[in-house]
């Protein structure tokens, strides 16, 4: 950690006054990382890169976009037809949103399976949930900008959710719209916020990283690192692994952008917004479908809205709902089963969200919604006390199972000694 570790005199001069190079060296190069991370740990860095791709393409798209109800649709078509490489930039941005969510959802399920939300990483987890919320708001407002039929009606339906709030609801909706329907003022503020929020996300991501580097990454065994024999420096080991993961990710991403660019979109959004005609089936973007299903599962307007927000809110208190001292699902036989049931439940909710709200779909939607909340509010607390975990290994590098070492995860030490 001495400032003189750098050979280049310019770097050394700067670093003495502004220790940016020591900081980077410490946090991005030396940073001791558990050596047993599997490929699921690639998705954190992939999410970060997705965010960067979205911000870069978004900035250049905004140079060609006009946020006005009379010009928005036309300006997007101009991007698609006349702007140099405009179609490429827009398809990257459009599909990038979907891929960002795919990556983040995998990242979240990885955290759920390996208990990455548990002490001492509760705040790390909660910051992640904040990022998810910000992403959802950003994606929703971005989808409004092309001002197609789905943009318009999506904006109308989602903003109307707030009208469910007693007393202040109507006022809030009018305030959100800046008028008496979704119109030009709404489009303008959505554009403004859609540009702003990604940078707020960057800020929260930085906090997320600070919190991560406090105790270091969790790992598939869910036990703490016990010293240098359990860790390897981030560079070159995880830089190359993340690079490989990025190449594979980009391959899938490019396949969508170049060969199925509209697969995850909806044809109705190529029809200009029409305030007098709602499309026959209005569906949110696929990443909102599970939440949309929860919204519709509750037959009460306010109840539905509360349930939908509750589905995310419950993630905030997850670290206290699951109090089992064993982090990794690998050593929790019953938890593991319920994890996969929960995962299937989320897929079912997504499927139901895409289906019309009628007949059997309503019933399935309600059962799946109830199960979603039961999993967090009942099953996890009960499992915390009722389940007998399998014995934990003594350390990452010693595959010896130490009796009932269930407490191995409890005493995590900070990665960095206080200086």
């Amino acid at each position: 950690m001495s400032a003189n570790q750098f050979k280049n005199p310019v770097v050394r001069w700067i670093d003495h006054r502004l220790p940016i190079f020591s900081f980077l060296n410490h946090e991005a190069t030396e940073y001791p990382t558990p050596k047993n991370l599997n490929y699921f740990w690639n998705f954190g860095s992939l999410a970060g890169i997705s965010l960067v791709i979205m911000i870069i393409t978004g900035i250049v798209l905004s140079m060609n976009y006009t946020a006005h109800v009379d010009y928005a649709f036309d300006s997007v078509e101009r991007i698609m037809r006349d702007v140099n490489h405009g179609w490429l930039l827009r398809y990257i941005h459009m599909n990038g949103a979907s891929f960002f969510f795919i990556v983040v959802f995998i990242h979240i399920f990885r955290g759920l399976y390996y208990g990455s939300y548990k002490a001492p990483r509760e705040l790390l987890w909660m910051l992640g949930v904040v990022i998810l919320l910000l992403m959802m708001a950003t994606a929703f407002m971005g989808y409004v900008l092309p001002w197609g039929q789905m943009s318009f009606w999506g904006a109308t339906v989602i903003t109307n959710l707030f009208s469910a709030l007693p007393f202040v609801g109507e006022g809030i909706v009018t305030w959100l719209w800046g008028g008496f329907s979704v119109d030009n003022p709404t489009l303008n503020r959505f554009f403004s916020l859609h540009y702003l929020l990604p940078f707020v996300i960057v800020g929260v991501v930085i906090l997320h990283l600070v919190a991560l580097h406090r105790f270091g990454s969790n790992n598939p065994l869910g036990i703490d690192t016990r010293g240098p024999q359990d860790t390897i420096p981030f560079h070159p080991y995880y830089t190359i692994k993340d690079f490989f993961g990025l190449s594979v990710f980009l391959t899938f991403f490019a396949a969508a952008v170049f060969f199925f660019p509209n697969f995850m979109g909806h044809p109705d959004n190529y029809i200009p917004a029409n305030a007098l005609q709602t499309p026959a089936h209005i569906v949110p973007e696929w990443y909102f479908l599970p939440f949309y299903a929860i919204l519709r599962a509750v037959p009460d307007k306010l109840g539905g809205v509360l349930a939908m927000f509750g589905a995310i809110a419950v993630l905030f208190i997850l670290p206290w709902l699951d109090s089992s001292p064993v982090r990794s699902g690998r050593f929790r036989p019953i938890f593991k089963i319920f994890f996969w049931v929960f995962f299937a439940d989320c897929l079912v909710l997504g499927y139901i969200g895409a289906m019309p709200a009628e007949g059997i779909y309503v019933v399935i939607g309600r059962v799946a919604t109830v199960w979603y909340f039961l999993h967090f509010l009942l099953i996890l607390p009960i499992l915390s006390v009722a389940e007998t975990p399998r014995p934990l290994p003594q350390s990452i590098s010693t595959p010896i199972f130490g009796g009932a070492g269930a407490m191995a995860g409890a005493a995590a030490a900070p990665k960095r000694k206080v200086e």
Partner: protein, 259 residues
């Protein structure tokens, strides 16, 4: 460890790919499937057919349907040269102005102009068509689920209503249209156009020409996109392979220590 990875990946991929497809389906009709030259990773547009489609659009559709996003200069993609495009543009009168007196005036079209719309606005279009709005066709292939097949089916599926079905005044029965009652009268009967190249002018053939033309109009960058896509995919697959090799080299000492 391999199993959950694969399960999760498979589930996420299938979820992300099947849901929108299901939601986009909708409707009570079965479409006629056709092999289009522009589908598939190496798909390209059929220029001769697009030129015929443009002619059919001008002679059959353009009386009611606009193509607001297509400029004459875009017709270069159909294989027309500059002089031909100028001549096509000059056939049209477009509104320009205001001039020095503040009046709008008509002049001959130039390549930079867009194809003029048949009606000045949506209300005028509705007024002239019994209240139905003939939609703009420049994006129609992308604005409908399975747009190419849908359009082809729609153009070729006018038939007599089954016994017992009452077709209201001003409506027509079309097997490919959701609800089967469509306000657009049958546009193609066969031999509606005369092609200079002597190509088939049956209803089926003209419908395909129109679809080829409109698929291009909806996504003019399609060929460039797919060409670039093939190059990018090759690059990324190579990069994945190379970085996998680099990863194995770098991790070799860690793996050896574990073994």
């Amino acid at each position: 460890m391999k199993k959950p990875i694969l399960t999760l990946a498979a589930a996420v991929i299938s979820a992300s790919f099947s849901l929108p497809a299901l939601s986009a389906g909708g409707g009570d009709v079965i479409l006629r499937q056709e092999e289009w030259s522009f589908s598939g990773p190496f798909g390209t547009f059929n220029k001769a057919s697009m030129q015929r489609g443009f002619q059919a659009y001008k002679e059959v559709c353009a009386g009611c349907h606009s193509m607001n996003y297509i400029a004459f200069r875009n017709l270069a993609d159909l294989g027309y040269n500059e002089a031909e495009i100028k001549a096509i543009a000059a056939e049209y009168e477009v509104e320009d102005g205001p001039n020095d007196e503040g009046e709008m005036f008509m002049r001959n079209g130039i390549p930079a102009d867009r194809i003029p719309a048949p009606y000045p606005n949506e209300l005028a279009a509705r007024a002239a068509n019994n209240g139905a709005y003939p939609p703009d066709l420049s994006l129609i292939v992308k604005a409908r689920a399975n747009g190419a097949d849908y359009l082809y089916s729609l153009l070729t599926s006018y038939e007599d209503a089954p016994a017992g079905t009452v077709v209201p005044e001003g409506m027509y029965y079309n097997a490919a249209y959701s609800g089967h009652m469509i306000a657009m009268p049958q546009p193609l009967y066969g031999d509606d156009v005369e092609y200079a190249d002597g190509a088939d002018t049956s209803m089926d053939a003209v419908a395909k020409d129109l679809v080829n033309f409109m698929a291009w109009a909806a996504e003019p960058a399609l060929e460039e996109r797919k060409r670039m896509g093939v190059a990018v995919m090759i690059f990324l697959v190579l990069l994945s392979g190379l970085s996998f090799g680099a990863m194995r080299f770098i991790w070799a000492d860690v793996k050896k220590a574990e073994a």
